[in-house]
Amino acid sequence: MNRRLAFPLVGLAVAALAGGLAVRAPSFAQPAPAAAPAVKNPFTGAAAIEQGRTLYNATCTACHGANGDAGEMGPGLATPGRSYARRTDADVFAAVKNGISGTPMPAHAGRLSDEQIWKISSYVISLRGTAIDAPSPGDAVAGEAIFFGKGQCSTCHLVRGKGSVVGPDLTNLAAVRKTNSIVNALTKPGYRTYGAGGAIPSRLEPLTTYPVVAVTFADGRKVRGVLRNHDSYSLQMIGLDQQFYLLDRRKLKAVVYEDQSLMPADYDKRLSPEEFANLLAYLTRLTAR
């Protein structure tokens, strides 16, 4: 399944960099691979993660991006929706210490102490938790009613085939987004995150954003909807009528990309604090499994 779900959000990285990314999944839910060495990270916890962050930013960001995003040369280490071959602290430790053969990833043995590498590993793993690792407290059943009722979320979004297909399908939301990212999407206008691509996308990916586009056909007919992809010659969109429009750009009279996202960003105002908490409880439990 396509797990490259994303909101039309701007600035996760800005917010995170300005404030320091404080989110840490209390437990990393994925089981360790069977082959992983039974080496335990001696440097865990908030202080180690914080020191790891500093070390990471001083050592790794020439290639990898800050806060787990992709960088100029290296891939994202905590990109939502991406699965990782190295999933334990020990896996990351080995990669940093010894490098990864056949890739530009160099060995850091001799440049960094084991203690420093363990702290970097703690930090990298801490970046990877998502909402489902620590679902938000509240009444998820009441939250579901808000999703399909007062909140009008389902007029754009789909959960397990129920709702609308115009916006991102949220069925697996809690497995690919952090709780603070969900909160930001509900409360910050124009909030968006970056996809797995980072500075150098390595393959042709679908759009990770949902910009609004309005096209005018040669006969004057207009369709407005959400862009799903485009290139120099074609355009793929879902109209507000929930139909696909797969178009030849050169046959269109006009293509207008709108600035405003369709996503309301005032849920902290249009809902009571209790309703908001319940909605969040629901959203942070949404997984495809």
Binding site: V10, G11, A13, V14, L17, A18, T54, Y56, N57, A58, T59, T61, A62, G65, A66, D69, G71, E72, M73, S101, G102, T103, P104, G190, Y194, A199, I200, P201, S202, R203, L204, N229, H230, D231, S232, Y233, R249, D259
Partner: protein, 523 residues
């Protein structure tokens, strides 16, 4: 036995004569790299001058619309190839670190493959050929020469001084094999292509004895990586290479001064490695604006006087024209819409950087972004139209530091503002006035992207990062043809001909795709 050897030797000599157009390359006599046949693509930029302009004219604006994919070769185990293939004697050589695949350039069929362990998918941009020798850069500090006919190893040497080669395509100039790299710091080296003997090393970070050492304020010079090939002027006997950024890249206070020879272009003697001149585009660079963009050599009248020029569209947003005999600055013009990092530029091309645009803890908004107004993808120059074509990146960015302390961790990102997403354009510039003549927007392609190739028929091949291979009319930018290659495009196209049939080829993802006009089409 002796008779048998003599017979075999005779066969080897005779074999090329017995075959038609696709004879095995027999490179000898005058330097073919200096006067390449229009049918071949013998070095990274086709010619020493870096113009990437193919003289072939069979594919032209009136028929390019019928261009067809003729073959696809999948380079198994590779990811996004950044290599420009080369073509010699009808054979195409496609490279990666530790590897070359030799193909029949007409059919795409594999002839031989050289794979030194391990398989590497690091960014590698090409190989070089000289006197039937192909040169392989490895990712474990070796340099290898292969026999171009068999893929067999001729020599395999450890890189001198334990340095690590970057993925640039080797260049042969004046019979010297030139390679470069990033680690431990930027360097260029010369080797004897026949034996692999190391001849010289030029370091882009100065030794204490070099006056340039003083431009680092007491800090040990670091950085200035060199990871793209350069150009060569056989008459002046100078090679021209761009150099990368000083380190630490976004935190400059620990290295007060200009930080030579970082973010510069340098002119060296290929036989000795001696520096003839340098020109620094971005003194004391704190934006990671490597100057690895191709230094293109043009001979032309400049203000009424014939001059030997070197032009470069630099990552810092300016299109520079220099005199390549001595590095004299002649002109700089902005080639992207927003350039806000400097307060002024003097008559010698020296900028005064705006200190308010240095990276900061809260994040500094700066144009162009660290990704640059352009990057390593090759530009191309059409001498008939006097037009310089460049992959221009519009967009600003934010440069950050982890703390205010020296050696702070740093990073950069795209501007988060609405409507300021990074966007690539294929841009035509008047090569001498710097005026922007036309623009083609590469929808969905944000940064870097593949390079360009112009042809003498007036077709500009403009691959797009997001997989579309497009042909434009050079003069106007009008779209003539496009093809969805189905994978990221991160390399520059080439053109060659076999038995009178012109091909255009490009790497796409892990594939190489070759295009030609339909069989039997009126040509």
């Amino acid at each position: 036995m002796r008779a048998l050897n003599a017979l075999l030797a005779a066969l080897v000599v005779l074999a090329p004569c017995a075959l038609s157009g696709s004879a095995v390359a027999q490179v000898s006599g005058p330097d073919p790299l200096g006067q390449p046949s229009s049918a071949e693509w013998l070095t990274y930029s086709r010619t020493y001058d870096g113009q990437r302009h193919s003289p072939l004219t069979q594919i032209k604006p009136s028929n390019v619309g019928t261009l067809q994919a003729r073959w696809i070769y999948q380079m198994a185990d590779q990811r996004n190839l950044q290599a420009t293939p080369i073509v010699a004697g009808g054979v195409m050589y496609v490279s990666a670190f530790n590897r070359i695949d030799a193909l029949d350039a007409r059919s795409g069929n594999l002839i031989w493959k050289y794979q030194r362990t391990p398989i590497s998918t690091g960014a590698q941009r090409g190989t070089g050929i000289w006197n039937n020798k192909l040169f392989v850069t490895t990712d474990d500090k070796h340099l290898v020469a292969l026999d171009a006919r068999t893929g067999g190893v001729l020599w395999d040497v450890a890189v001198a001084d334990g340095r690590t080669l970057a993925g640039q395509a080797p260049l042969v100039a004046k019979g010297v094999l030139i390679v470069s790299g990033n680690r431990p710091n930027g360097f260029i080296q010369g080797y004897d292509p026949t034996t692999g003997r190391h001849l010289w090393t030029w370091s882009a970070v100065p030794e204490e004895s070099d006056p340039a050492y003083k431009t680092w304020g007491g800090q040990t010079p670091e950085g200035a990586p060199i990871w793209v090939s350069g150009t060569y002027d056989p008459d002046l006997n100078l090679i021209y290479y761009g150099t990368g950024q000083p380190e630490p890249q976004w935190a400059g206070e620990s290295r007060p001064g200009d930080n030579l020879y970082a973010s510069s272009v340098v002119a060296l003697n290929p036989q000795t490695g001696q520096l003839k001149w340098h020109f620094q585009f971005t003194p004391h660079d704190v934006h990671d604006w490597d100057a690895l963009e191709m230094p293109v050599l043009i001979d032309a009248a400049w203000k009424g006087k014939d001059r030997k020029l070197l032009v470069q569209a630099n990552r810092n947003g300016f299109y520079y024209i220099l005199d390549r005999t001595n590095g004299e600055f002649l002109q700089a013009t902005k080639f992207v819409s927003r350039v806000d990092w400097l307060l002024s530029m003097d008559a010698k091309g020296r900028p005064t950087a705006d200190p308010a645009k240095a990276p900061s803890v809260e994040g500094t908004y700066v144009c162009p972004s660290t990704a640059g107004a352009t990057n390593w993808p090759s530009p191309t120059y059409d001498p008939a139209l006097k037009m310089f074509f460049v992959v221009a990146q519009e967009g600003c960015g934010i440069n950050l530091r982890d703390s205010a302390k020296p050696f702070a961790g740093t990073g950069y990102m795209e501007s988060p503002k609405d409507r300021e997403d990074w966007q690539l354009y294929t841009r035509a510039i008047d090569a001498f006035t710097g005026k922007i003549l036309w623009d083609y927007k590469q929808v969905r392609s944000p940064h870097y992207g593949p390079g360009l190739m112009s042809t003498a028929s007036g077709v500009l091949f403009s691959p797009e990062e997001y997989g579309r291979f497009t042909a434009l009319e050079s003069k106007t930018g009008k779209v003539l043809w496009n093809f969805n290659t189905g994978a990221m495009l991160t390399a520059s196209p080439i053109s060659y001909s076999i038995d009178g049939q012109q091909f255009v080829a490009i790497s796409s993802g892990s594939n190489v795709i070759a295009f030609a006009l339909p069989e039997g089409a009126a040509q």
